[in-house]
């Protein structure tokens, strides 16, 4: 069999950095989501770009699927080996190659995680701003086009990746972009690989933008009588040009679970959690402007603090929201939805979603990156009761359909992976065919993460 031939050659090439051990296959066939495990045939651990190129050439010669693996934090099963083949684990390619402080960029290998990167940057006065919560790898973050709580201020991976090195489906190594801050030179290949979920090539090096650590940071919590008032406050704040660093929505149900799990004392109401970055003066002014708008919109409370420990506690609580929810429902699993709509339609999208969830037997607390129009329901189901997963899927599907009706997208930041493939035709129409044409041009054998992103062939 062709894959077996590829595996033999890969074993020869990589020796002890090639494995078919049960434990490794199992780990690389597992996702954080609700999908069945789908292990690869082998796992390889390259040390450098040339090895990645050799690996892909061997796989191309034998039609063996090639799937990149970073930190395994995908919520949509991006890295599941649905057609077998090999998982290329980038754990040994996790170095910072070049910190360019004056240019405010850094060159890294794809296996480094965002926490490791920020740890390495801590003495430079700079930080990498994209924060999806999970300690994801940079290669995975780029491939998913992820974002998170800070996108409202600093952008997503689309805006923060400026150059790449990529191994193509035939093993060629290319460089896209430069370290110049902008360019009008040719097709935006960097942008094409960001969000491609490994279906066009493997990212082997990234240059990403850094930001200056703000002189002052303030964090605030603000409770509202209802979610509409919270969203109006957000819209008005954005229109005033107040550059919030984070602005997160959590509903009353989530607030209660977060209190129970993280020891916070949020009132039993929908909340905004906000962070401002700037100078002392700027941060104070921004907090004051926001507070005024919130009061005008009927806010029930507004607490703000510049103390690092308060802020740290707040964002730890927010990032642990999913764990807080699971802790409230022992033994259950969650399906995390990820719709994103124009912000003018966000109140409607959330209200209709809440009505759906209220009418369903499943709990589904909501959290959201409200400045971007992106929110998640964590639909909690019993993995032992198939009807519950079906119900979660039905609710998720209604949210996706609604997002499209409201001019939005089925995935703001989690990507397509296994979970959103069924909505691609509805979201993109003929543009999905164009994605297929590009895939065929770049990977005619369909060996790069096959079964993902484009129409299955």
């Amino acid at each position: 069999m062709a894959i077996e031939q590829a595996l033999e050659e890969l074993a020869d090439l990589l020796e002890d950095r090639f494995t078919r051990s049960e434990a490794e296959l199992e780990q690389h066939g597992h996702s954080e989501a609700y999908f069945a495990n789908t292990p690869p045939d082998a796992v390889v651990f390259p040390r450098n770009t040339n090895e990645v190129s050799q690996i892909v050439k061997i796989c191309a010669a034998h039609d063996c699927p090639v799937i990149g693996w970073g930190a395994g934090t995908s919520l949509e099963g991006h890295a599941l080996a649905v057609r077998g083949g090999i998982s290329v684990d980038f754990r040994h390619m996790n170095k910072v190659l070049d910190v360019n402080a004056e240019d405010m960029d850094v060159v890294v290998q794809p296996g480094i995680t965002r926490e490791e990167l920020n740890q390495e940057l801590r003495h430079t006065g700079l930080f990498f701003p994209v924060d999806p919560g999970a300690n994801a790898s940079l290669g995975g973050m780029a491939s998913t086009r992820c974002s998170g709580t800070t996108a409202v201020r600093y952008g997503t991976m689309r805006e923060n990746v400026i150059a790449l090195e990529v191994v193509l489906a035939d093993g060629r190594i290319i460089r896209t972009g430069t370290r110049a801050r902008k360019s009008a030179s040719g097709y935006d290949l960097t942008g094409m690989f960001v969000g491609a979920e490994g279906t066009l090539g493997l990212i082997t090096e990234l240059t990403v933008r850094l930001k200056g650590q703000p002189e002052a940071v303030s964090a605030a919590t603000c409770a509202f009588p209802d979610m509409g008032a919270a969203i109006d406050t957000v819209i008005q704040t954005i229109q005033m040009g107040v550059p919030m660093a984070r602005i997160e929505f959590i509903d009353a149900a989530s607030a209660g679970m977060v209190n129970a799990y993280s020891g916070t004392a949020l009132p039993d109401a929908p909340h905004l959690l906000i962070e401002f970055h700037g100078s002392d003066t700027v941060v104070a002014e921004q907090a004051e402007t926001f507070g005024e708008l919130a009061r005008e919109n009927g806010a029930l409370s507004f607490e703000w603090s510049t103390k690092p420990e308060d802020r740290k506690r707040l964002w730890a609580a927010r990032h642990n929201a999913a764990y807080a929810i699971f802790a409230a429902f022992p033994g259950k699993r969650g399906l995390s939805t990820d719709v994103c709509v124009p912000i003018s339609n966000l109140a409607q999208a959330i209200a209709e979603t809440q009505a759906d969830i209220d009418a369903s037997p499943l709990p589904g607390p909501l959290v959201g990156h409200v400045g971007d129009g992106n929110f998640h329901a964590l639909l909690v189901f019993d993995p032992e009761v198939p009807a519950e997963l079906d119900e979660a899927m039905r609710l998720s599907s209604r949210m996706a359909d609604r997002a499209l009706e409201l001019g939005g997208t089925v995935t703001g930041e989690h990507g397509i992976g296994m979970g959103k493939l069924g909505y691609m035709q509805a979201e993109h129409g003929e543009a999905w065919d164009v994605m297929g044409q590009l895939k065929t041009a770049m990977d005619p054998q369909n060996i790069m993460n096959p079964g993902k992103l484009v129409r299955s062939n």
Copy 2:
């Protein structure tokens, strides 16, 4: 002949919106740059997307080149009909289709110019921030991936176009992106058409981001003893996280010509021209921070003002810099270079360029978007003396080679068009072949703006 057949069918379809008049052909074969006129065989003026689709289908049936035309402000001859065919002039498709104030976006047709758009937005409290100086059309700006003086704060067309409608090379109409502020749903087709210079399809509708008009604006001029001191000030200001809205460099030669043309009184020295946007407090604080850094770097003067008339005069003077330079050299023409390098290498790039120009018989005043690392030499030559154009080309070529050596790009914002095609292999290497693969996949007949961007075939 095939093209003649296409022209007959187009004339039938469009009646008086099809023309072969000398004057129109001449105008659509002309560029603002130094290239020879290259008129199309005909010009068409579609009224809507379906007509554009019909036009492209006719052209596809007869292998007739199709070239989009906006405002004709390209500096690299993007729209020259180097292989004949038709020019698709979007002057009738110049409407604002939808202003979404809450979402801070607007849907427009490609023929609208940025000044027309901002005129239509003037009562909304919002504005479209990308400002290349010229009153370009939005379709052209997107296709060129242009930027200008405000990119340091608001980004380029890459960051500001969020969705497109495009007519493909076979006449299919697709939509890319949505009005949601972010998405992780599939290949970034929007990003692929932005900067594609019309080689993959014709943009027939754009959704672009808007910004809130700032409460306060201050503009400043700051003279420095040398350009290194100016650039150090810029780097430090960016690292402090001060969000300058514009930060422009002009050399001493340009300052003198600007004074003579626009009646300003800039000292005979290199200058930074700066603009800050924000609240009154924020703007004052930013100007103060900048002033301190400038003084520490030896600034000779620092004048700032929040008066709209001072600001208007300043930016008019800056935008008229090219005219000021031509006024100083009557009867001459100019070759505008456009390199962009990592900002840490900008001082070196500028110094070596100035030395080159000093050693040359041609004048070449420098202006630059220094916050982005992007600068232009306007190389002034006598169109009657062929050796002078050769010398301008030689200087331009040295600048391009140097930009690549310094980790930059040959074009920060003007695009490739006719002028930079010769540097694509050097800048992109095998990635240029990948661009060719994408082009072939999307336009196998090579009818969309042939002879541009990819390797000529």
